[in-house]
Symmetry: C2
Subunit: 157 residues, 2 copies
């Protein structure tokens, strides 16, 4: 059994956030001692692990609350819960793809500004043809600078 302060330190979440999660129904079956103090246990810690993961996967608090309710309803909600995790798996995979796209752009910009810094000016690198870039950088450029319209030429900023 743990107090709210102990759990706060273990999972690295502020105490008011834990109370907020409890009030919102994300933590089921939190016991209280005779004077009303919350007694958390290892099941709470596992719940918090799952809550963090579902939040990362893009779920809102109220959706996580629903999931927790399903958990408490037992075996009759297994199919629902499985489908939910499949949806969140797809969601997070899409999010990772988008972040990797953004990362490619950022890596290109790191190279770009490194070149500009060596020159002391953006002049040369700004009008460089992709074919004159190192192969790896050219790949990053082409991956991230697909034109919005076929006729337009992608410009750097």
């Amino acid at each position: 059994m743990y107090t709210i302060g102990e759990v706060s330190k273990m999972v690295n979440l502020p105490i008011p956030t834990l109370r907020y999660y409890d009030n919102e129904g994300l933590l089921t079956n939190i016991e209280r001692d005779s004077s009303g103090i919350r007694k958390f246990n290892d099941k709470t810690l596992e719940s918090l692990r799952v809550i963090e993961c579902l939040k990362k996967s893009g779920m809102q608090i109220k959706e996580i609350k629903e999931f927790m309710k399903w958990c408490s309803l037992g075996d009759q909600t297994i199919a629902k819960r499985k489908e939910m995790f499949i949806r969140q798996k797809e969601h997070i995979e899409q999010e990772i793809k988008e972040l990797e796209m953004a990362l490619a752009m950022i890596k290109f910009k790191c190279w770009y500004y490194d070149e500009a810094l060596k020159d002391g000016t953006e002049k040369r690198v700004k009008k460089l043809d992709p074919n004159d870039m190192p192969e790896e950088i050219k790949q990053l450029f082409e991956h991230t600078h697909q034109p919005y319209r076929k006729e337009s030429i992608t410009k750097l900023i």
Copy 2:
């Protein structure tokens, strides 16, 4: 040259969002025609691409605004801009790592609920020893269920 409606369709952002970005100083040098209508160009499109990428990397609007100001100050801000991209690269790499951790947990849960669905109950899979899980699933489990305290046994929910 494009109108706000054309840009909205091209980059798939609502018109008020483009106006908001303009008002916040994220889009520099937006020209207007004689009756005050914004005239966007290919440089705007490239700015919007960079804005999306910086937002994905965790930057706030006001920080992006600062970056755009640096861009307009020219070569004297190259070092600053490079350092900013290096910071954002680290930030996004960390974020991808965290999302991959969450994904591992979700993949484990997909397997878990698939087993439970086959059994019609969580009973068996809930108390399964990691050593009796398929190797791949055991890896996911151990990667995502490190105990908060060494003495505690990780429980599923």
